[in-house]
Amino acid sequence: MLVACAALLVVGGGIVTWAATQQVGPPPTPSAATSTTGPETSASGTASGPATAQPSPSTPESAPSPSDVAPMSAAEPTAVRIPAIGVDSPVHGLGLDGEGKLQVPSGELYNQVAWYDGSPTPGEVGPAVLEGHVTGAGYAPSVFFELGDTRKGDRIEVDRADGSTATFEVTEVKSSPKDDFPRIDVYGATDGPELRVITCGGTYDKDAGRHLDNVIVFAELVKG
């Protein structure tokens, strides 16, 4: 009897302790400084490795202008990697729903990244649009849980169906209320090949069952 009770205590305590370590806080939100240039953004950029450093002594600006990189021909994206936040996901295509809103990953592909198939393919001129969930059902983090921790200068690599890889560099990370979504900044015409990576964030409205903000990463092609 005593042994059974002691065993219950040990097992119960173990389970509670384990569960306590599995608790997940809210997803990170972009710091205010990431919407403009800030000292800590460049610091995190150099800290993430030599890949983010542009050894170009002739120009003090580290980011090459988009015109320096030739646009790529059309090829649909197959996978995306954001090493700074540990993202490595296959990519599938999604379109608009009946109301003209962007469809979101669902079913077996829920935790994968989607590309808006009406936007340019990554590497073509224009803003290619990628999206992914921040959280899943049952409080679990999804593929872009850490997207708000992306910093200016981080690299985003997109593998394409023709075997090539388009490499982008983050220029800005923004958080915007969904009801005041910066539609033109995100989807509007661009001169060069760019990338937009979108997920949810901000306050979670329990009644509505949705996050109130979108986290948006802006990036430019730096290597075709």
């Binding site: 969930h133 983090p141 915007s176 209320p177 015409a189 979670y204």
Partner: protein
């Protein structure tokens, strides 16, 4: 925006009766939407965005602007012509202390093609200075659907339109004044018409989705593995209860 020559070719092709399908405008492929990012001229501090959609000879346009002089009318137009581009913010002109006046950049953005007045203002080039019907706030949202000629509709769809918002308080007096007269109307001070912000209307490269993106799931601030927590707590409680009960029985 360097499509004017191509547009001319396309127009010529149209004139001789060939289909326009091979034209340079990709707008038709993507729902005919155009966007512009407005940036400051004359160090005005103004900025904004514009969106337009061409449907036949109807142009639906919306414009959001910030950082303008409050309480003073801001003439706003779609210019077409020149190189169909905006001048640079630091470009010097013939106005107050080298300020850029409207005509100084005519080679770049051409002439007024559409006046973006509010109802009931007229929208042709001759309404360019209809000061009673222009927005007059520090920041504003404007939208209107405007009928234009076939030529203007085609030019805007081709990406030749440049949105210019006017009115700069160079001397910081809080109102349009000063000795320099407007190059458009000598009855007005130059501050009233000098360009404050400019953006090139380019064809969007996609059919732009509406609204935000519903990439949430649920909140992660809830309790993870509630079943494990519940079961574990129950086991703990049972074990403790059992131990206490066993000790009591032992002491009695």
């Amino acid at each position: 925006m360097r499509t004017s020559r191509l547009a001319l070719c396309a127009a010529t092709v149209a004139l001789v009766g060939l289909p326009l399908a091979a034209g340079p405008a990709t707008a038709d492929d993507h729902g005919g939407e155009l966007t512009a990012e407005l940036s400051q001229l004359n160090d005005s501090g103004a900025s904004g965005t514009a969106w337009a959609k061409v449907d036949g000879t109807s142009v639906e346009i919306s414009l959001e602007a910030q950082g303008l002089l409050d309480g003073a009318p801001h003439a706003q137009h779609i210019h077409i012509g020149g190189q169909n581009v905006c001048p640079a913010n630091d470009q010097e002109g013939s106005g107050f202390e080298g300020a850029l006046q409207v005509s100084d950049a005519a080679d770049q953005y051409g002439a007024v093609a559409v006046s973006l007045t509010k109802e009931p203002g007229k929208t042709g080039a001759d309404a360019a200075l209809d000061v009673d019907n222009f927005p007059a706030e520090v920041s504003y949202s404007y939208s209107r659907t405007i009928e234009v000629s076939e030529e203007v509709a085609q030019q805007i769809a081709n990406g030749d339109g440049v949105v210019v918002v006017h009115g700069v308080d160079h001397d910081g007096s809080g109102t349009y004044d000063g000795d320099t007269k407007s190059d458009l109307d000598p009855a007005l001070p130059s501050e009233a018409t000098d360009p404050a912000a400019c953006g090139e209307l380019n064809a969007a490269q996609m059919s732009m989705p509406h609204g935000g993106v519903e990439t949430g799931g649920s909140s992660t601030s809830g309790i993870e593995y509630p079943a494990a927590l519940g079961f574990g707590t129950l086991a703990l409680a049972l074990g403790a209860f059992g131990l206490v009960a066993a000790r009591r029985r032992a002491t009695i």
